[in-house]
Amino acid sequence: MTEKTSSRLNSPTTVLPAMPPVEIPEFKGPLDLLLHLIQKNEFSIYDIPIAIICRQYHEYLEKLDLLDLDTAGEFLWMASWLLHMKSRMLLPRENPEDGGADPREELVERLLEYRRVKEFASLLHEADLLRSCLWEARIARNIGSEQLEVDWEDVDLRLLAETYVETMDRFAASHPPPLKIRPMRFSVAGKMRELYDRVHREGSMSLLRHLDSRPDPEEVVTLFVATLELIRLGGVLAEQRRQFAEIYLRPGPKVVDLQNMTAPEYENAG
């Protein structure tokens, strides 16, 4: 999970006919791939035939299914560098006096360094395997507290930040923010009018679907209260055929004059 590139690079790919049948190993980056190509061809790292490597690199690149943009960018950047070098190698050295700097020089340097990193990483890998199986003795001290302590030496900025965040989280959890009562954004009377008009206009409406379509919980609550009010007043009827099934609203037996209804009666009910 730490290595997002690996899974990408391992995704199955079709082998192009031009390529020798090789399995694609996991490449940890463009330098890794380049190093692999150089070793496979048994080229000297100090005298890389850029044209050949450049071609092979591109062939590999096509086979790799690079879905991750960042990773693709890393590989493509190297591709363009190789192309650049290739074109510079084709040009005659303009100025033999300045030592005729080899355009490959920087690449060689970086490959050598990366190879050292890989070698060291493989040593660490062996040590990781061998030493992961050692357990430290941990018997209780009879004396003193078993309080959690850290070596001051081991406290870095991250631990300090973590401790702070945890402390403040704990504080926030025990001090919930003050309850804020905002003015109601939806009025029961308004919703009653809206529902009543719609039910009488359309003859029927699906209550649950309508409630589901409202993103604001406050509106949902208001709508629901409005529905109950309308049912109580006989303005609409509610019908449900099965438990948990849709609830249909239909025109009720009574005519309710919602226009002349006094607002406060409902606004305070909520």
């Binding site: 560098w81 003795a137 209780a140 001051w152 300090l160 930040a161 973590e162 401790t163 702070y164």
Partner: protein
């Protein structure tokens, strides 16, 4: 017998890597499908007890309510108390770390404010931090009681490799993602420095009392509107 020697190693290792008592059953469970019987385990434990005692080892094996417990010899208590007491001077308790982090990020801050945030009395911890030179007193707050204001010291900065407090990273960001901006471009150019953005310049500045009161207090005024 080699099998026995191996099992004995297993049991000894289990005892030594467990701070509390070890039950015979837990050993039996871990050694399943090795053909070991409960009685074998018990006899090995008895052997170990005798052996440790005869060899004059630093530890004793004792049978307690919950199973078998490894404990250091009582005559070593004095030394161990001394040893761990001295050692703990280089250690920081969890409480001390908490107080230090509050002072670091909210300075200047008073003890009552720290106590409020931690919901426990931090005065002895603060004293420890003062003694160790990690925090210092920086004046008094102009409120009732004139409590001391605390700040971190130069030694604190040195320990974390910081030049100034402005370099303290934003704690939330740091915990989430240690490096905020790590654009890809830097692969080719390491010199120019891509990962800026962390320096939250002014936020920790020198303004009075950085504890924003409203942030952590339940304000009654707000509620009153509601009724």
């Amino acid at each position: 017998m080699p099998v026995d020697a191996y099992l004995k190693g297993c049991i000894e290792a289990a005892l030594l890597t467990t701070p509390g008592p070890v039950t015979e059953n837990s050993i039996l469970d871990a050694a399943e499908n090795s053909g070991i019987e409960a009685t074998d385990i018990r006899s090995i434990l008895e052997d170990l007890r005798k052996e440790w005692e005869e060899q004059g080892r630093a530890i004793l094996l004792e049978q307690v309510a919950g199973g078998w417990r490894t404990a250091t010899r009582p005559d070593l208590d004095d030394f161990l108390r001394h040893f761990h007491g001295l050692n703990s001077r280089q250690k920081l308790s969890q409480a001390a770390l908490e107080v230090l982090s509050i002072v670091a990020y909210r300075q200047p801050v008073t003890l009552p404010e720290v106590n409020f945030v931690r919901a426990s009395n931090s005065s002895s911890v603060m004293k420890t931090l003062l003694d160790r030179g990690l925090v210092r007193i920086a004046g008094r707050k102009k409120v009732v009681g004139k409590p001391f204001l605390y700040r971190t010291t130069r030694d604190f900065l040195i320990h974390f490799g910081l030049e100034s407090l402005e370099e303290l990273p934003d704690p939330e960001e740091l915990v989430k993602e240690p490096e905020l901006n790590s654009p890809n471009g830097e692969m080719c150019a390491p010199s120019g420095d891509p990962c800026g953005g962390l320096s939250r310049e002014s936020e920790m500045g020198d303004e009075e009392s950085s504890l924003p009161e409203d942030e952590i207090r339940v304000s009654p005024s707000e509620d009153s509107q509601s009724s």
